[in-house]
Symmetry: C2
Subunit: 205 residues, 2 copies
C-alpha cells in the first residue's frame, strides 16, 4: 500500500518533470527534482522507491521514463475528463487555472444563471445547469469540480453520481451521506484560512 502523501507528491513531481521535459531535459538528479518541487532529495528517493528503481547511479533519473512511470501509477496515461459546476468568481478562477494544466481535459462548465449561458471562460463554454444530467449521459466524465454554495452541493453530487462520475472536489464544505461508489473531497478556502487563523492564535498563547 502506497501512502496517500506519496501519491499526492507524485503528482507534484510529475508537473516538475514535465516542465523539465519541455526544456529538453533528459536526466534529472533527485537533488534537482527536490529543489524544483520544494522538497528534499531523500524524500524524492523514498517516494520513488515504492515503484522500483528508476534511477541510474550517479546520473539521476531518465525524465521521460519517470514521467511515464508516474503517469501509469496515477492512471493518467490519457487526459482526465473534467467538468465544473458553478461559474461564480471562484468557479471562473478554477476554470482558468485548470485549463493551464495540460492533462486536464475540461469538457464543460455549468451554471444556474441564464445570463452566463453561452459565455466562455477561456476555451470552455458555460452551459445551463439543467443540461448536466443529459450531458453526463452523452459524455464520460472522470471528475467533477463543484464551486457552488454548500446548500446545493448534495444535489449536484447526486446528479454526478448517477451520471457515472466517480470523483468530486467541492470548494464548499458540506456534510451528507456520500454515495458509496464515489470519492468526495472538500477544499473550502475561506474555512481553511479561518482555521489557520484559529490555529495560529493558539500557537501564540
Amino acid at each position: 500500500m502506497i501512502p496517500e502523501a506519496t501519491i499526492r507528491r507524485l503528482s507534484v513531481y510529475l508537473r516538475c518533470l514535465r516542465r523539465g521535459l519541455r526544456r529538453g531535459e533528459e536526466l534529472v538528479l533527485s537533488t534537482q527534482l527536490a529543489r524544483r518541487c520544494g522538497t528534499s532529495a531523500s524524500l524524492v528517493r523514498k517516494d520513488l522507491s515504492y515503484f522500483g528503481g528508476f534511477g541510474i547511479k550517479g546520473k539521476g533519473y531518465r525524465v521521460a521514463d519517470l514521467i511515464h512511470a508516474i503517469e501509469s501509477i496515477l492512471g493518467i496515461n490519457k487526459p482526465i475528463a473534467l467538468i465544473l459546476v458553478g461559474v461564480g468568481s471562484l468557479g471562473r478562477a478554477i476554470l482558468r487555472y485548470l485549463q493551464e494544466v495540460p492533462y486536464f481535459n475540461i469538457l464543460g462548465a455549468f451554471d444556474n444563471d441564464e445570463k452566463k449561458w453561452g459565455r466562455r471562460v477561456g476555451r470552455v463554454e458555460v452551459l445551463p445547469a439543467h443540461f448536466l444530467r443529459r450531458f453526463l449521459e452523452e459524455n464520460p466524465v472522470d471528475l467533477g469540480v463543484i464551486a457552488i454554495p454548500p446548500e446545493g452541493v448534495e444535489e449536484v453530487v447526486d446528479t454526478l453520481e448517477r451520471g457515472g462520475v466517480r470523483g468530486v472536489l467541492s470548494f464548499a464544505l458540506a456534510e451528507f451521506e456520500v454515495p458509496r461508489n464515489m470519492v468526495l473531497e472538500f477544499v473550502d478556502i475561506a474555512a481553511e484560512l479561518e482555521f489557520l487563523y484559529y490555529k495560529a492564535n493558539k500557537l501564540k498563547t
Copy 2:
C-alpha cells in the same frame, strides 16, 4: 479540546448565518442552518454544544448572538489581515475570491514580475515581491497566502515568518522544515484532483 472538523464547520456556519443576518433574520432553527450549510441538524447541534447553549427551545438560535459567539471562538472579532504572494492566474483568482469575504482584509499582493507592478486586481494593488520584507515591518499581517511554484515556497515562508506572519496557506505543495512558530497548510488543486482520480480508479477495481 474542540475537534478540528468542528472548527472548520464553525466557519461555514458563520458564513451561512451572516447571509441570514443580512436578510434580516433574527432566529434560525438548527434544521434551517443545516440545510443552508449542506449538513445535518444533529451535527449543527453537536458542533454548537461544545460552546454552551446558544439555543432557545423550539425557537432556534439567536442569529446575531450565535455569530458573535462563533467569531469569539475563532478569534475573528476584527477582520483578518491577509497578504497574497504570486499573482499568476491562480493567485489572481484567489485574490478576487477573498475580496468577496467581508472579514478578510487584504493588505497587499506581491509578485516578481515587474509587468504586474502597480496593476490592480479588484481593490488590491500588485507590489514588487522585494517590497515584502519592508511591508511586513510596517504592516502587521495575520495570514499569508502563497500562489507560486513549489520551488519558491520555502523562501517566501521564511520571509513571512521573519515578518511575524503566523499562518500560511500555500497553493503549491512543498516540503521543508516549517518554522516552529508558524502554521502552514497546503492546498494543491491539481495534485488534489489527480489524487481523487487515483482513488476513484481504485474504487472501480
